[in-house]
C-alpha cells in the first residue's frame, strides 16, 4: 500500500474500515467523490470482533444486489434461541422459521467472521473508487478554526486534508472525544466481550443444531452463565466452527472481581452448553468492548466538517431481544455519506449542512430504533433481570416438571412459592413488569 502524496486533497476522509466506514466510503465513491478510507489494521477486519450475526442483509442487498453470493458469509440464521439459566438448569424460547425471508433470499441474517467479511466489504468500497489506506493510525483531527479540515496520521508527512471527515473509529473513538463530541465513557455503559472461535466438523454442526445445508442458528443466554456479573453469552454456528462468547458489564466485572476468561470457561462447562461444544478445538480467542447503553451514551453526532458513525457513535442496540450493531453501523455510514454528498454538492461543509446526517439517520430508522428502546439497556443490566428472573424461570421449571409422587401444585401457587424461594418481592416484580412494558411494549 503506497502512502498518499501529502498535498493531495480529498472530498471525504473516512477513518476506520469496519462496516460503518466501508459503507460510507462505498456510497460516497459511487457518487463520484474522491474518497480515502483509512484503516489502522494490516487489513480491514484485522482489529474487529463481533459475535457475529449480521442482520442487515436487506440493507446491503440494496447496495450490492445478491451480495451473499460473493461475500464470505457462514450460515443464514433461521433458528434463534433465548436461554435463561441457573447453574444447573436452562429454560429457553426456541424460534425456528421456514418463512419467506428466513430461509430464502434476501435472508434475515448471516453469521459472519469479521476479519473476512470486513475485508470483503472494504474491497467493495475500493472497487467503487475509494482509496484504501491500511496500516495507518489516525491520531488526531486537523482544524481550521472551528472547522475540521483533515486528519493527522502516524506516518511521515502524515497529514491528510479533506472537506468532510467521517469518524468510524470504533468504540474507543479518540476522534469523537478529541472533537469534544463524546465525553469519557463510564464503565456501566460498556461491556467487555471475550470470544472464542471453536472448530467443529460441518456435519456435526448440522446434526447438533438440527440444521440443513447452509442454515444457521443463534443462541443467546442470560442468567447464571455470567455468575453474579451482569452480562450474557452467545453461541453462533458458522460453516465449520462455532463462535461463542461472554459479554460482561465492565463495572460489574470490577465489582465482583471476576476474570472475563474464567466466565468463558464457566459458560462452556454449563450443562446446556457443554454438549453443543464437545469435541471442538480452539481456533482463536479475542476480546472487544461493546457500547451497550445506546441512546444514553450517544455523542453529539456531527460538527463543522465532521460526522461520527458506527460504534464510535454508540450505534449498538443491546436490548436483550436485539443485539445488533453491524446493521446500524452500515446504516449510519450510509447516512453520513448522504450528508457528505450533499455538502460536496453545495460546497458548504459547516454543521448546518451536515445536520442532514440526523435526518438521514431517522430515515434509515437508526435514531428511531435507539430512541424507542432507550429504556431497555438499563433494564437488561438490572440486578433482578440478570440474576433473579433466570433463576426463577429455572427453579420454576424444575418444580413444574418434577414428578416425585407428591401432590401436583397448580401454576399460581407453584410460581408463588418459587418467587418466595428466590427471595423476590412481589412489589419488585410489579415494578419490573412496568419496566418491561415501558422498555418493550409501547
Amino acid at each position: 500500500m503506497t502512502a498518499t502524496n501529502g498535498s493531495e486533497h480529498f472530498d471525504v476522509i473516512v477513518v476506520g474500515a469496519g462496516p460503518a466506514g466501508s459503507a460510507a466510503a462505498l456510497l460516497a465513491a459511487r457518487a463520484g467523490l474522491k474518497v480515502i478510507l483509512i484503516e489502522r489494521g494490516e487489513y480491514p477486519g484485522a482489529k474487529n470482533v463481533s459475535g457475529a450475526v449480521f442482520y442487515g442483509s436487506t440493507i446491503l442487498n440494496q447496495l450490492i444486489p445478491e451480495w451473499w453470493e460473493q461475500a464470505p458469509v457462514e450460515r443464514h440464521v433461521c433458528r434463534r434461541e433465548l436461554v435463561l439459566m441457573s447453574p444447573t438448569t436452562s429454560v429457553s424460547l426456541d424460534f425456528r422459521s421456514a418463512a419467506e425471508g428466513y430461509v430464502r433470499p434476501p435472508y434475515n441474517g448471516f453469521t459472519v467472521l469479521r476479519p473476512k467479511f470486513d475485508r470483503w466489504f472494504a474491497d467493495q468500497a475500493e472497487a467503487a473508487g475509494a482509496f484504501l489506506l491500511t496500516s495507518t493510525v489516525v491520531d488526531d483531527l486537523l482544524w481550521d478554526g472551528p472547522q475540521v479540515v483533515g486528519v493527522k496520521t502516524r506516518r511521515d508527512d502524515g497529514d491528510i486534508r479533506g472537506d468532510v471527515v467521517i469518524a468510524c473509529d470504533g468504540v474507543n473513538s479518540w476522534l469523537a472525544r478529541k472533537a469534544g463530541l463524546q465525553r469519557e465513557l463510564r464503565t456501566h455503559e460498556l461491556s467487555l466481550g471475550v470470544k472464542e472461535v471453536i472448530g467443529l466438523d460441518e456435519s456435526l454442526i448440522r446434526q447438533r443444531f438440527q440444521l440443513a445445508g447452509d442454515e444457521g442458528m443463534a443462541l443467546e443466554y442470560v442468567g447464571a452463565v455470567t455468575e453474579a456479573v451482569h452480562g450474557g453469552a452467545f453461541l453462533y454456528t458458522n460453516r465449520n466452527s462455532l463462535s461463542l462468547g461472554v459479554l460482561a458489564q465492565l463495572s460489574s466485572l470490577v465489582e465482583h472481581k471476576k476474570r472475563p476468561y474464567d466466565l468463558l470457561e464457566t459458560f462452556k462447562a454449563h450443562p446446556a452448553v457443554a454438549p453443543l461444544v464437545r469435541g471442538g478445538t480452539l481456533r482463536e480467542y479475542s476480546a472487544h468492548l461493546i457500547p451497550e447503553s445506546g441512546w444514553n451514551m450517544m455523542p453529539a453526532l456531527f460538527a463543522d466538517g465532521l460526522m461520527v458513525a458506527g460504534d464510535a457513535a454508540a450505534f449498538c442496540l443491546a436490548t436483550g431481544i436485539y443485539i445488533e450493531g453491524i446493521n446500524y453501523a452500515m446504516q449510519s455510514g450510509l447516512a453520513a455519506a448522504e450528508a457528505a454528498i450533499l455538502a460536496c454538492r453545495r460546497k458548504e461543509f459547516s454543521r448546518y449542512t451536515l445536520s442532514h446526517y440526523m435526518e438521514a439517520l431517522r430515515q434509515r430508522n437508526v435514531l428511531t430504533d435507539f430512541q424507542a428502546y432507550r429504556h431497555a439497556p438499563g433494564f437488561v443490566n438490572g440486578e433482578r433481570l440478570q440474576n433473579l428472573y433466570p433463576q426463577l424461570a429455572a427453579l420454576g421449571g424444575e418444580a413444574l416438571f418434577r414428578v416425585d409422587g407428591n401432590r401436583k401444585q397448580k401454576l399460581l401457587p407453584l410460581y408463588w412459592r418459587t418467587l418466595r424461594q428466590v427471595g423476590a418481592k412481589p412489589r419488585h416484580v410489579l415494578q419490573d413488569l412496568y419496566q418491561v412494558a415501558r422498555a418493550y411494549l409501547w
Partner: protein
C-alpha cells in the same frame, strides 16, 4: 480441546510487536491504587500485581480493547493509544 487455559487461548491470535509500547503504566501511581481493576478485567491478563504493590504490565499481547483505560481509578496512571499502523493484534477468524 474445548476447555482451555488462558495461556492456550493467548497462543491463538497473531501479534506483531511494535518496539514502542502503546500503553504506558505509571507504576508509582498504581501503588496508591486500592482496587487495581486493570488486573481483573484485562482479557489478555497483561497486568500482574507484584508482592511489593507494584503493577507489572506487558503491552506485547494486547487486544487493544481499552478495558484497562476505562476501569482505571487513578487519574493518569494509564496512558493509552493504539499501536503503530499494522502492528499489534491481528485477528483472522473473530
Amino acid at each position: 480441546m474445548v476447555m482451555t487455559t488462558h495461556d492456550e487461548k493467548m497462543r491463538t491470535p497473531r501479534f506483531r510487536v511494535d518496539d514502542t509500547p502503546h500503553i504506558v503504566v505509571d507504576g508509582e501511581k498504581c501503588r496508591t491504587c486500592a482496587v487495581r481493576s486493570c488486573v481483573t478485567v484485562c482479557p489478555a491478563n497483561l497486568f500482574v500485581l507484584l508482592d511489593d504493590g507494584h503493577v507489572l504490565f506487558n503491552y506485547e499481547q494486547c487486544f487493544e480493547c481499552g478495558a484497562c483505560y476505562f476501569v482505571c481509578a487513578v487519574e493518569g496512571a494509564i496512558r493509552w493509544t493504539y499501536p503503530k499502523g499494522g502492528f499489534g493484534v491481528t485477528f483472522r477468524e473473530s
